[in-house]
């Protein structure tokens, strides 16, 4: 790592919130449209995103490159930390430990999830119209469903607790009271976002996504 670790660490903290945290919120809302509006609602949200101009560059500069930097540097940070929760069983020390554990889980989960969805779209194996059915196929497998549950909860915890740490690291919440209030707000964000993601995972398991999948299968079969 050339240059000064102060700036690298500051950049790492910033990227976690802007753009990655904002992207995670957008992702939670888009997925939630699967719960709220079923396959059509979800497809509308997906189409809305894909209609954005310069979508490739938006993805590159606001998602992929920040994830790559935040993930790789984050692994290094996790490596330089000890976990001493057995000796110091304080809430914040547990959050410190979970921040590193969930960070590693999230990074692995994101790579796997990108491979299953985004890379397959790029390879031409699925189209953006089939994302809902693809998700149904994945979460229909009970093992994958559990892994997705763990993945989204880890990601949401990492973001919410990371937002709390961002406010400290940038000198916004200084005193104990400010940090206590912000930790309650961040845990509220954790609960809300976790519920949104979990509801959408259950929605993807639903029969309507299966029937959409079946319908597409029939159409493909007939066309084929």
């Amino acid at each position: 790592m050339s240059g000064n670790s102060y700036f690298t660490r500051k950049l790492h903290s910033l990227l976690g919130v802007i753009p990655l945290g904002l992207f995670l919120i957008e992702h939670a809302l888009t997925n939630y449209s699967a719960f709220e509006g079923g396959p059509e609602g979800f497809q509308d949200s997906v189409n809305g995103l894909h209609d954005l101009p310069l979508i490739f560059f938006l993805e590159l500069f606001f998602i992929w490159l920040p994830i790559l930097f935040h993930g790789v540097y984050g692994l290094y940070l996790a490596f330089t930390s000890n976990l001493n929760t057995s000796r110091f069983q304080y809430g914040r020390n547990w959050a410190f430990a979970f921040q590193r554990i969930t960070g590693v889980i999230t990074f692995i989960f994101i790579i796997w999830h990108m491979w299953q969805i985004r890379v397959q779209v790029e390879l031409g194996n699925i189209t953006t119209d089939e994302l809902g059915t693809k998700m149904h196929e994945i979460v229909d497998n009970p093992a994958y469903f559990v892994l997705y549950m763990i993945g989204v909860i880890a990601a949401v915890f990492h973001f919410s607790n990371g937002l709390w740490a961002f406010l400290v690291s940038w000198g916004i919440t200084i005193g104990p009271r400010a940090q206590r209030v912000s930790s309650r707000i961040c845990m509220g964000i954790f609960v809300i976002m976790a519920v949104l993601f979990i509801l959408s995972l259950f929605a993807f398991r639903g029969d309507d996504f299966a029937s959409a999948s079946a319908a597409i299968d029939t159409i493909t079969a007939r066309l084929g």
Binding site: S5, Y6, L77, S81, N82, G175
Partner: protein
Amino acid sequence: MAETATATAKRTVKFIITRRATPDSTPYNEEFDIPYRPNMNVISALMEIQRNPVKADGSKTTPVVWESNCLEEVCGACSMVINGKPRQACSALIDQLEQPIRVAPMTTFPVVRDLVVNRQRMFNALKRVKAWIPIDGTYDLGPGPRMAESKRQWAYELSKCMTCGVCLEACPNVNDRSSFIGPAPISQVRLFNAHPTGEMNAHERLEALMTDGGIEGCGNSQNCVRSCPKGIPLTTSIAAMNKDTTKHMFKKWLGM
């Protein structure tokens, strides 16, 4: 009276002490049964072992080596890990400790022998962040600016730091794989930057915190503030210095 005296003499305190002969040798545990006396602390128990270096099994051993000085929790020399928590041995009262009492050196620091550690890295860190007020010169500079009483009150709390090393021992980010200087020197930057004369060199201390192993090493586990024997608001100091270094970074970028 005689009966009470015998009863007291019979009572013993069990100690399990982690020892090592040289800095590089393998640590080992030794058990001791020390005669109980009222109001004992860990230091007086160690003194008892020094007087009579006999282990719990009756065999002789070398006296346990430790460091201590003020015996009133202001010098920081006798910090060690007692029942899992880093603290001063002088203020660790036997009556308040669960037995067997486990005593070990603070392994965040290089162990010299038994319970003696080398806290040189903390003094190096204080030099690195320039934790002093430069007033020496070739002529009398006259009196400095006055400090507001309200500010003096909270700054005094920060000045209680005795470089004891407990916060570094508690910090999960102070270890062999990281160059983090630890919480104590960051709080000292806040102390000297708060001083009306020290403030004149505030940028030098902030820039020292913005180098490798500086304030960025903090991972917000907040064990330091929970462990500090002097009750110094270390995490408030760290967050305040986060604010000041962030402001300093933007000012430098913008050329202000």
